[in-house]
C-alpha cells in the first residue's frame, strides 16, 4: 500500500485542473497573454527608439514574466490543502494578488504610452507619487509564492513523493526570499546596470560588459521552476538520495543567486564568454 502511494506517477499532470484549483490566476495568465496582442501592435506602430529599445519592450517582458508566474502559481495550487483553496482568506488573498498584478501592468503600459510625452512634468509627478504603491504591489504579488510555499510545506496530503514535495515548497519559498532583496536593491538603484553597458545579450537584454542586476532577479524569481525541476530529476534518477539532493540543489541555487548578485554589484557581466 505504502509502495503504491510513493511510486512516481507515470501520467502527465492534468492541466484542466488549473481552472478548478486557481481560477483567478489562470484567467489572469490568459488575460496577460492576450493583452500582448495590442501591445505588440503598439510596438509596430511606434518605431522610434529610446536607448536601443522600443518603449513597449518593458510591458511586453512583464506580461510574459507575470503570465508565466501566475500560470505557475495556478499549477502549484493543486498541492495546497483542498480546504485552503476553498477558504475565504485564500480567495481574498488571490484577489489582492490579481489586483496588484493588474495594477503593475497598467502602470507599465501607461508609462510606455507617456514615454512619447515624457516632457510633461505633471505626469512625471504623478508617476513619482505612484511609485511607492507599485513597490507595495510588487511585494504583495511576490508574497503569493511564499504563502503557497509555506502552505504546501505543511500539507501532508499532496500525493507527491517526499523529495518532490520538498522541492516544490522550497522553490516557492526561495522565489520570495531571494527575489525581495535583489528586487528591492534593483528598484532603489535607479538603473539595472552597474557600470556603463554598451552591448546586451539577445532576448534577455543582459549586459555583456557591465554588471546587470536583472540576472540575479531572473534566477531568484525562477526558483519556483528550477528547484522543483531539479527535485523531479532527483526523484527520478536517484530515488534513495532524492531528499538530500533537493536540499543540496536548493542551497546551490540560492548560492548561485547570491553569486550573480555580487557579480553584478562588482560591475562584472554574467557569463562573459557568451559573447
Amino acid at each position: 500500500m505504502t509502495f503504491v502511494l510513493s511510486a512516481p506517477r507515470a501520467t502527465l499532470p492534468d492541466l484542466r485542473r488549473l481552472w478548478t484549483d486557481a481560477p483567478a490566476f489562470t484567467a489572469l495568465a490568459l488575460i496577460l497573454t492576450l493583452a500582448l496582442i495590442p501591445i505588440y501592435a503598439a510596438m509596430a506602430l511606434y518605431t522610434r527608439i529610446f536607448q536601443g529599445d522600443s518603449p513597449w519592450m518593458k510591458p511586453v517582458k512583464f506580461h510574459y514574466a507575470l503570465g508565466i508566474y501566475t500560470v505557475s502559481l495556478a499549477f502549484f495550487a493543486r498541492f495546497l490543502p483542498e480546504a485552503t483553496r476553498r477558504s475565504r482568506p485564500w480567495r481574498w488573498f488571490t484577489a489582492a494578488v490579481v489586483i496588484a498584478i493588474l495594477g503593475e501592468v497598467v502602470w507599465l503600459s501607461a508609462a510606455a504610452a507617456l514615454n512619447t510625452a515624457s516632457h510633461f512634468n505633471t505626469e512625471i509627478a504623478l508617476f513619482a507619487a505612484v511609485y511607492p504603491l507599485m513597490g507595495v504591489f510588487a511585494v504583495l504579488l511576490t508574497s503569493a509564492s511564499l504563502v503557497m510555499g509555506l502552505s504546501i510545506w505543511r500539507n501532508r496530503a499532496t500525493g507527491l513523493p517526499p523529495a518532490l514535495h520538498l522541492a516544490v515548497a522550497l522553490g516557492l519559498i526561495l522565489t520570495f526570499v531571494l527575489t525581495i532583496p535583489v528586487a528591492s536593491y534593483l528598484s532603489g538603484n535607479g538603473t539595472h546596470f552597474v557600470g556603463s553597458s554598451t552591448r546586451t545579450l539577445w532576448l534577455m537584454g543582459w549586459s555583456r560588459d557591465a554588471g546587470d542586476l536583472r540576472v540575479a532577479h531572473f534566477l531568484a524569481t525562477h526558483a519556483l521552476h528550477f528547484v522543483p525541476v531539479l527535485g523531479l530529476i532527483a526523484t527520478w534518477a536517484f530515488p534513495t538520495q532524492a531528499t538530500r539532493l533537493v536540499w543540496l540543489s536548493a542551497t546551490g541555487f540560492a548560492a548561485l543567486v547570491i553569486l550573480t548578485f555580487t557579480q553584478a554589484l562588482r560591475g562584472a557581466p554574467f557569463l562573459p564568454f557568451l559573447g
Partner: protein
C-alpha cells in the same frame, strides 16, 4: 510603413467591407457570418484602435472637455484614424447584432438589408431604422395573436 496613418487608413476600408459583405450574405452561413462580423473583424479593428490610442493619446492635442477640444483631437492624423476605426468596428458590431437579432425574432433578412445600409454609412440612423422595424414586428405579433 505601419506608422503612416494614411497607409493604415487604406487597409481599414476593405477589412470593414468584408464584414458587411458577410452580413449581407449571412443567410447562407449564419454562424460563420457572425464569427466574422461580430468577432474577428471588430476584434482586429479594436487591436488597431487600442494600439493607436496607446501610442498617440499622450501627445494628442485637445480632449473630451468641449467641442473645440474634440475637434482639436481630430487634427492629429493618428487620432483621427483611431476615431475612424472606432466607427468601423462598432458600426459593424451593431450590424452583426441587427442581423443576429432579426434572425432570432423571425424578421426576414430582406427587410433588414435597408437597415444595414444606413448602419454602415451613418451608424445610429441604421440602428434607429432597425429599432423601428423591430417595434413594428413586435406590435404586429401582439395584434395578430390568435386568442386561445
Amino acid at each position: 510603413m505601419l506608422t503612416d496613418p494614411h497607409a493604415l487608413f487604406q487597409m481599414t476600408g476593405p477589412l470593414a467591407m468584408l464584414g458587411w459583405l458577410s452580413l449581407v450574405l449571412s443567410p447562407l452561413a449564419p454562424r460563420l457570418s457572425q464569427a466574422i462580423a461580430a468577432l474577428a473583424i471588430p476584434a482586429l479593428l479594436s487591436v488597431g484602435y487600442t494600439a493607436l490610442i496607446l501610442v498617440h493619446w499622450s501627445t494628442a492635442p485637445g480632449g473630451f472637455g468641449s467641442l473645440a477640444d474634440v475637434m482639436a483631437l481630430f487634427n492629429d492624423p493618428s487620432i483621427a484614424l483611431a476615431g475612424w476605426v472606432h466607427y468601423l468596428a462598432f458600426d459593424l458590431f451593431v450590424g452583426a447584432w441587427i442581423t443576429r437579432t432579426a434572425r432570432a425574432e423571425g424578421i426576414p433578412h430582406l427587410l433588414i438589408l435597408p437597415c444595414l445600409v444606413p448602419t454602415f454609412l451613418f451608424g445610429p440612423a441604421g440602428f434607429l431604422a432597425f429599432t423601428a422595424l423591430r417595434a413594428a414586428y413586435a406590435a404586429r405579433a401582439r395584434m395578430t395573436k390568435v386568442p386561445e
